[in-house]
């Protein structure tokens, strides 16, 4: 039900509620994770407390081609993650080591390529 072939200015609609074409995952995630009624559950997981960095990292990996185009270090400027980023920066200062930053950077890159290849594998199986 998404409606616009990109690069085309006119807006066309497909039948309301017809339910063909899987709805864009980004739009669904945005709604189920970020909108919707929040009621305290007795086991409810507060998604704001969850390690958002990891989830977002994986969102990127889902569209790694785009991520490459915009540079893999996008999260450094992401306001959503800036609290996390500044906390880590403070930690780093305390330890007075830029070596760690390099290591972390390398590990992240390795992790991403790992995940990327496993996702590609998944995709091929489908």
């Amino acid at each position: 039900m998404t409606i616009q072939p990109s690069g085309q200015r006119s807006v066309a609609t497909t039948g309301a509620g017809a339910g063909h074409a899987p709805t864009n995952l980004g739009d669904i995630l945005e709604r189920v994770l970020d909108k919707g009624l929040v009621i305290a559950g007795d086991i409810q997981v507060n998604l704001l407390d969850i390690e958002l960095l990891t989830i977002k990292l994986r969102l990127v990996i889902a569209s790694l081609d785009t991520a490459r185009e915009v540079g893999i270090n996008w999260w450094e400027n992401d306001p959503w993650l800036s609290a996390e980023a500044s906390r880590r920066a403070e930690d780093r200062e305390l330890q007075g080591s830029s070596r760690e930053l390099e290591d972390e950077n390398r590990q992240l890159r390795e992790r991403i390529s790992e995940l990327e290849s496993s996702r590609n594998g998944d995709r091929n199986e489908r």
Partner: protein
């Protein structure tokens, strides 16, 4: 009830009537059922807390494939229910230990939830995103190349660069103004409107800057009318690429915070 069993909530409705939910399955393929709670009805399914309890969720949500399956399953139950009766979608991962404990929590918010159900009844949500089209809204932008004659190549470069930068800034300004105008116009057409943060290119899958990410609550039978308003706005604003999604269940209008704009 076993200690390992929990209740996953999808949506709250006033009264599902005689709607047939017997073929509806939710997360982990479980049968969806209704549970009475404080005079309201909740669409739920039973889940294994070994997989959907707090600790397990924290672990499993790190797995994007798992998260995608979960998000789609949650959404599909809500979307199917929304075709049958007015409902308020609950956020992903709202889990209770039993129907009774869920009813106890909802009891305290009964009036607020009933009022929200009134607001969304007979209405659907449409999403509108606007992307800035680079260099648009600026006829001839990027085309003019000052002659390199006076002042030499360096100065010509600087002039050209300055012209480029100001053209970029101008097209950003024009896209932002256009997005504002579109939102104002569509808000007037909707019962309620919500502005959401623009999605990152990673989430939207579109690398152009997103200038508008809004949701509009519109009468269910006015979908075609709203879509043609959006199409008209697209014609009026060549600097923007408008993207319409929906109809959605009223995700953006289920909350109690009253931040309606327009």
């Amino acid at each position: 009830m076993s200690d390992d069993r929990g209740v996953w909530a999808y949506a709250i409705t006033a009264d599902p009537g005689d709607a047939d939910l017997s073929r509806l399955t939710g997360v982990a393929g479980a049968q969806v059922r209704t549970a009475p709670a404080a005079g309201l009805t909740v669409l739920v399914s039973d889940v294994d807390l070994n997989e959907f309890g707090e600790a397990a969720l924290r672990r499993n949500l790190e797995d994007l494939d798992w998260l995608e399956g979960l998000a789609r399953a949650h959404h599909e139950v809500i979307a199917a229910g929304a075709k049958l009766f007015p409902l308020l979608p609950t956020r992903l991962a709202t889990v209770y230990s039993s129907d009774e404990s869920m009813a106890a929590v909802l009891g305290g918010r009964r009036n607020e939830l009933a009022a929200a159900l009134q607001r969304v009844g007979g209405r659907v949500e449409w999403g509108v995103k606007a992307y800035a089209i680079p260099e648009a809204g600026q006829p001839g932008a990027g085309r003019h190349e000052p002659a390199a004659a006076e002042g030499g190549a360096g100065l010509a470069y600087l002039k050209r660069r300055k012209a480029q930068l100001s053209a970029q800034a101008e097209s950003q300004r024009s896209a932002a103004a256009g997005a504002n105008a579109v939102h104002g116009h569509l808000s007037g057409r909707a019962a309620e409107a919500r502005l959401h943060p623009p999605q990152s290119p990673q989430l939207s899958g579109d690398k152009r800057p997103m200038m508008l990410n809004a949701a509009y609550l519109v009468d269910a039978d006015d979908g075609a009318g709203f879509a043609s308003e959006v199409a008209a706005a697209a014609d009026e604003h060549p600097e923007l690429d408008l993207n319409l999604t929906g109809p959605w269940p009223p995700y953006s209008f289920a909350g109690d915070e009253d931040e309606a704009s327009g």
